[in-house]
């Protein structure tokens, strides 16, 4: 989806749309969804009514003051709406471009895979589950489905933003196709798996647009807390009115508090900062995930990502580079290294795999043996098969073979050769070190062993150690044998590994981890990963994977990158951290607001209380106005933080907490003292009060 903002113009358009939406969102129906802001909304209406009655002479304070309070309260509502609208803006832009891909096309329905000629043209919207369609080069795939015949290169840029085409073929783990993508070459027969309205693209549009955004459990819990605080503050202000009347009567003076000021106090105290930004934070978190090209099927999944304490990572691609490389030739039985390297290179000339190429390169580097021409007619290349588990070349009358140790042992001994204990020992040593031994033989005589090594990716060790500091355990999943796996695990610095992994093994491991109270995240792509994906707390399916895997997972990684899991965890944590930090900030703000408003209210009743006016605000009215203006402006000031998320570092829970407490707790205590004073000075300077 990498739709980066193309120009300032797009940004301005987004901004204008957000401003327009801020006003549209003033409708009571929208406001009712956010209880804290509903309180502000009602307060704004109430003060406006008070102003109107004040104009007719029924008042307890001046009409101008009531009007000022009313205007600021309306502004507070608009600012909150704006925060939400701007957060939604990015998603809406994404949704627009996705909608462009989701147009009705002509689908070529066929009765069976075998009769590809019998094409009926129908509308893509009318396709049903199980229908078969033929898609040829240049055509758009009409619906989500499974390739049941053929292979084709497909341009998926409409959904992934990645312009390089990908191969989709029947059978195996690359069989899923998405409606709205385009076949570039060849043809495929697709069995439709979803009907119009429920397709991947539909879900994606709904997700990025936030239309299907449901409040997550955590968000609900926070909202309960905020509502409870608001209720307490309603009671505080209501009781304050009677307290004030009671005290005034005891002192024999008129009640000094006005309803307008109490409403202002209520709005100041209510956790409006976090209340206004809460939904923006959630939407922004989702949108950060989208920008990482991950599509979460629910908001719940992204929060669960923050809780994950165990990552099951595939070795290949995440921990090691995708391929192994030759790093050493070890000759046996008094064969010279050159002789071994020469034979190894010959046998690998036709081997186009990265491993094969690395053998050729190593021979050249170490012994300056030049690759010979492949066109040599006397060379007969024997390709690798799963059955023989060896490959090689017949050349110049000799038979050169290389392959897995057991296969080579059988091959040599079968022909009467000797598989020496020296060779056996070397093979075992390489395995123990986490390498892969390839035994090379010429005319049934073992020359030596090539040491193929897994290359650990740069920086993964540090990454895992950071994760460990945060309490996240990494588990490497590999098909290697336990010895190899252990060696790589040690080198990469993962905490644990699952060797010779089978789908059942993965599922079993997730279950046992969960039983011990862990939250597990994994990625997967194959159909046989589906049970494990369904079991995991956070399951990321590769977009390149099968339909079954995508359905089992609760997120889809459009880039199909195995390292994405780490980013997802970061985004999940950041989302929760932003919520927590802004809540703390919002509540801590109340202390200063009390110090602004309470002395202002009661200095007439008890002159001694002016000692509490530690900010030395100019007058009672300016104190109330400054506090409530601060309360509105802080929402705008914090929108960038809500959208970007608070700073995230991979450190332990204790350190994170002390840092965030310091910044947002202490900062939340101090900031309003400073800014309320500044606003007060400005108001006094402008002679507005």
């Amino acid at each position: 989806m990498n739709h980066k903002s193309k120009s300032g113009f797009a940004d301005r358009k987004m901004l204008l749309r957000a401003i327009k939406d801020s006003f549209l969102k003033l409708s009571p129906k929208v406001q009712a969804q956010n209880p804290v802001m509903l309180l502000v909304y009602i307060s704004a209406i109430l003060t406006t009514l008070l102003w109107v009655t004040a104009l007719f002479g029924l008042k307890d304070v001046s009409a101008g003051y009531t009007l000022a309070i009313a205007i600021i309260l309306w502004a507070t509502c608009l600012f909150a709406n704006f925060a939400e609208a701007i957060a939604e803006g990015r998603g809406k832009a994404q949704a627009d471009s996705l909608r462009a891909a989701k147009r009705d096309v002509e689908a070529h329905k066929i009765p069976a895979a075998s009769c590809r000629e019998d094409v009926t043209a129908v509308s893509s919207a009318s396709l049903k589950k199980g229908d078969l369609v033929l898609v040829k080069a240049g055509e758009q795939i009409p619906a989500d489905g499974e390739v049941i015949e053929g292979a084709a290169s497909v341009d998926e840029s409409a959904i992934t933003g990645e312009s390089a085409p990908v191969i989709r073929e029947s059978g195996g783990d690359r069989s899923a196709v998405t409606g709205g993508t385009t076949v570039i070459s060849d043809w495929i027969v697709v069995q439709v798996t979803s009907e119009a309205g429920e397709s991947f693209l539909d879900k994606m549009i709904a997700m990025v647009e936030g239309a299907s955004r449901k409040k997550t459990p955590n968000e609900i819990a926070l909202q309960i807390f905020l509502i409870a605080l608001s209720i307490i503050f309603i009671l505080v202000t209501m009781s304050l009115y009677t307290y004030s009347a009671f005290s005034a009567k005891l002192a024999g003076i008129e009640n000094p508090t006005s309803v307008t000021t109490l409403v202002a106090l209520l709005v100041c105290l209510a956790p409006t900062t976090i209340g206004a930004l809460l939904s923006a934070i959630g939407i922004a978190g989702m949108s950060r995930l989208n920008r990482a090209n991950v599509l979460a099927m629910s908001g719940r999944a992204i929060e669960a990502a923050g809780d994950v304490d165990t990552l099951m990572l595939d070795k290949t691609g995440t921990i090691t580079l995708g391929n192994r490389q030759a790093c050493e030739f070890i000759p046996v039985n008094s064969v010279t290294p050159e002789e071994l390297a020469d034979a190894a290179q010959l046998s690998s000339l036709a081997d186009e795999t990265p491993e094969g190429r690395s053998v050729v390169v190593l021979a050249k580097e170490q012994f300056n043996i030049r690759g010979r021409s492949l066109s040599d007619k006397e060379m007969v290349f024997i390709p690798f098969t799963a059955k023989t588990r060896m490959s090689g070349v017949d050349y110049d009358g000799s038979e050169i073979r290389k392959g897995a140790a057991e296969a080579m042992q059988e091959y040599v001994t079968h022909a009467g050769g000797v598989y020496s204990s020296e060779c056996d020992e070397i093979v075992r040593r390489i395995s123990n070190q986490g390498g892969t031994p390839l035994v090379v033989a010429k005319d049934h005589r073992i020359l030596g062993v090539i040491h193929l090594k897994d290359i650990i990716k740069d920086g993964v060790r540090e990454k895992f150690s950071d994760l460990r500091k945060m309490g996240i355990k990494t588990i490497m999943i590999t098909g290697d044998n336990p010895l190899t796996a252990a060696a790589i695990a040690a080198e990469a610095g993962v905490d644990d590994f699952l060797a010779e992994a089978t789908p059942e093994g993965k599922l079993e491991m997730i279950r046992s981890l969960q039983k011990k109270g862990h939250m597990v995240a994994m990625t997967g792509d194959g159909t046989n990963d589906a049970p494990a994906l369904a079991q995991a707390d956070v399951a990321v399916a590769m977009n390149s994977g099968t339909q079954a895997a995508k359905e089992a997972g609760n997120m889809v990684d459009l880039d199909s990158s195995p390292t994405k899991l780490i980013d997802i965890v970061r985004i999940g944590k950041q989302l929760l951290m932003t919520r927590g930090s802004l809540t703390t900030f919002s509540i801590a703000n109340d202390v200063a607001k009390y110090f602004a408003i309470i002395p202002a209210l009661f200095m007439g009743l008890y002159p001694g209380l002016s000692a509490l006016n530690i900010m030395h605000l100019a007058s009672p009215q300016s104190a109330v106005l400054s506090a409530i203006i601060y309360n509105a402006l802080i929402i705008i000031a914090l929108i960038p933080l809500a959208l970007k998320g608070v700073k995230y570092r991979e450190v332990s829970a204790g350190k994170l907490l002390s840092r965030n407490l310091l910044v947002y707790g202490l900062g939340g205590l101090a900031a309003p003292f400073l800014f309320i004073k500044l606003i007060d000075m400005l108001l006094a300077f402008l002679r507005l009060v």
């Binding site: 955590n218 309960i224 009781s239 923050g306 929760l576 927590g580 309470i598 008890y606 000692a611 947002y664």
Partner: protein
């Protein structure tokens, strides 16, 4: 100076020293373990009770059944006490022939003692018969305390058990708590108190000669400078007509010691006599004073250690203990310093020599000269921390800031040790709030002791934490608008407001102490204060049991480096911060109009 400070340190050290072993003992009772020596005697009694009452000793109740048992049991206790108060005139053990109470006073008293508040809108020696005292009040002293501890036990089980249902049996918990914990300690303490001369008798009040007769005028006011000459009363040489000479006094008696030991141990606080433990027959000697003082906090403190053992992580109990202890120590220090420093007004014209650090200096108004400032301030801070409410000095006469602290400790929800059982479970609800905020700040769905905090727990936890502020704000807010309330005040201005605020704070914190002089025995005050007490008691009980019922079904999450520690210094700090913040945000305006206004008016 040093001696005074040492006195405070001695009390605090002794308290913790006694509470720690008691906490371990209570854990054993909670877990139903065999206790050498004790079980041999008590287990047969226990089994007999189960047999007679047809209690299934191994029953495991779900939270709703546990709650229903608590409520029904307390309702029964309430009705019994209500009827006793109404009908005491016709009942035995009434040598002073005291009449039945009014319906609203009976309602208030029954609510008060059933909820472990022990707010007294009456004066014991004038308004209640011995029968009501020992059959009604003393019984409620036991069972209201046991109810609090039982709910705590159920909550602890909810935290430690994994994916199950049963919180234990309320009837078993109630029996065990009374039989193994409350009765034995109470018995020892009663004997010790009687040894100090605290009254314990069914005899009617005694009439004794005054050492020196006094004269009162026809309206009953004492004539200060009167000279009594035979039957004549002379003031400045002139005979006062209609003056009466008083030569005898009534010394009230009654089964006091047994009730007093339980009122202290069970954080009840309802005095046998009107002036509570400042009465010379309720609190006779420095030793009885120390004993009663330690008794009022020892079980709440012990329960912190019980909690730590109960959840199989002693550090958790220690953290909660430290959070409470640090707040208690800080508040005690504020009261002590303010009472010692007194007010500028007291020093006017050399009325009080404030330079004297010994008891004659400082604010001695309303304090017993036999206890002095240190023992009075300690008692005042402990009794308002512990939701006990018994007093050995009059809080009304404290300096504005000293008095404010006593009020604030109640307004914080009585979680600084608080009432037996309820203080701790109240604090644990605050711990849930604290982990919620802290958990979010470290990017994890919050959890406490491995159990996830979800909307359901959050809903009840905020209700538990806010029950006290809601009760106080609504109660006092309405009272401030009711015309007649002002006539109950004993003082004008900010102090008058404080008296009213204190009354509702005491009810909302289930404390029971009062700013003396506030006449609470009116229909409106009796009913409204009674309702606040019921609300502040049963909403948290419901919430805590609901949380327990939900927590017990959850799986326990593994502890990793990403888990937020709930036992380190940072968390203790955060917990204190949350408690103070909720209290401060709820009550800053109210306190500003009461004690703060009084203080600032005094110093300005």
């Amino acid at each position: 100076m040093t001696a005074t400070i040492l006195q405070y340190l001695f009390y605090m050290a002794l308290l913790v020293g006694l509470a720690f072993p008691l906490g371990l003992y209570i854990t054993k009772v909670m877990n139903g373990e065999r206790i050498p020596g004790v079980s041999k005697v008590l287990t047969p009694c226990e089994n007999l009770i189960y047999k007679v009452m047809r209690v299934k000793a191994d029953e495991q109740m779900g939270w709703k059944k546990y709650l229903l048992s608590v409520v029904l049991f307390n309702l029964f206790g309430f009705l019994l006490l209500f009827l006793l108060c109404l009908c005491q005139g016709f009942l035995p053990f009434n040598p002073q022939h005291i009449e039945g109470n009014s319906w609203h006073l009976a309602f208030n008293t029954a609510s008060s003692f059933m909820t472990n508040t022990n707010w007294q809108a009456y004066s014991g020696e004038n308004a209640l018969s011995y029968f009501t005292q020992f059959m009604g009040l003393t019984v409620q002293n036991f069972v209201s305390a046991a109810t609090g501890i039982a709910v705590l036990f159920a909550f602890i089980r909810g935290l430690i058990k994994v994916k199950s249902q049963g919180l234990g049996s309320f009837w078993v918990d109630l029996t065990k708590i009374i039989l193994y914990i409350l009765l034995p300690i109470c018995l020892v303490m009663t004997v010790l108190l009687v040894s100090q001369g605290v009254a314990q008798s069914f005899a009617p009040a005694e009439t004794v000669d005054l050492l020196e007769p006094i004269a009162v005028d026809s309206e009953g006011n004492i004539l200060e400078d009167a000279v009594i000459d035979g039957d004549k009363v002379l003031v400045e040489g002139a005979v006062v007509e209609g003056a009466v000479i008083v030569r005898k006094q009534i010394v009230p008696l009654g089964p006091a010691a047994s009730q007093i030991s339980m009122k202290q141990l069970g954080t009840n606080g309802g005095g046998f006599y009107g002036v509570n433990s400042s009465h010379p027959l309720e609190n006779t000697t420095p030793f009885s004073n120390m004993l009663e003082m330690l008794a009022l906090l020892v079980i709440p403190v012990a329960l912190c250690f019980t909690f730590g053992r109960g959840v199989k992580d002693k550090r958790q109990g220690r953290a909660i203990f430290l959070a409470m202890f640090l707040m208690l120590a800080a508040f005690l220090a504020v009261i002590a310093v303010n009472e010692q420093a007194a007010t500028p007004q007291l020093a006017q014209n050399g009325a009080v020599d404030l330079s004297n650090i010994q008891q004659a200096g400082g604010n001695m108004e309303g304090k017993e000269s036999r206890f002095g400032i240190a023992s009075s301030a300690t008692w005042a801070s402990w009794t308002t921390a512990a939701s006990n409410g018994s007093v050995n000095s009059m809080h009304d006469s404290y300096t504005p800031i000293g008095g404010m602290i006593t009020m604030l400790q109640m307004q914080l929800g009585e979680v600084i040790f608080g009432g037996v059982g309820c203080g701790l479970y109240g604090m644990l609800a605050f711990a849930i709030l604290a982990v919620f905020i802290a958990g979010l700040m470290v990017g994890r769905t919050p959890e406490y002791l491995g159990k996830k905090i979800e909307p359901y727990e959050m809903k009840w936890a905020v209700l538990v934490c806010l029950a006290t502020p809601i009760g106080i704000l609504v109660g006092s807010g309405i009272a401030a608008a009711v015309p007649g309330v002002m006539e109950s005040l004993n003082n004008a201005g900010a102090h008058g407001f404080s008296e009213m605020l204190y009354a509702y704070s005491s009810a909302g914190g289930n404390n029971g102490s009062a700013f003396a002089g506030f006449n609470a025995n009116t229909p409106f005050l009796n009913v409204s204060i009674g309702l606040v007490m019921l609300f502040a008691r049963f909403l948290p009980i419901t919430g805590i049991l609901a949380i327990a019922g939900s927590m017990i079904q959850k799986k326990k999450l593994a502890t990793t480096a990403g888990t937020l520690s709930t036992s380190n210094g940072l968390f203790i700090f955060l917990l204190i911060f949350v408690v103070l913040l909720v209290g401060a945000l709820s009550f800053f305006p109210a306190l500003a109009l009461g004690p703060l206004a009084e203080f600032l008016g005094m110093t300005a």
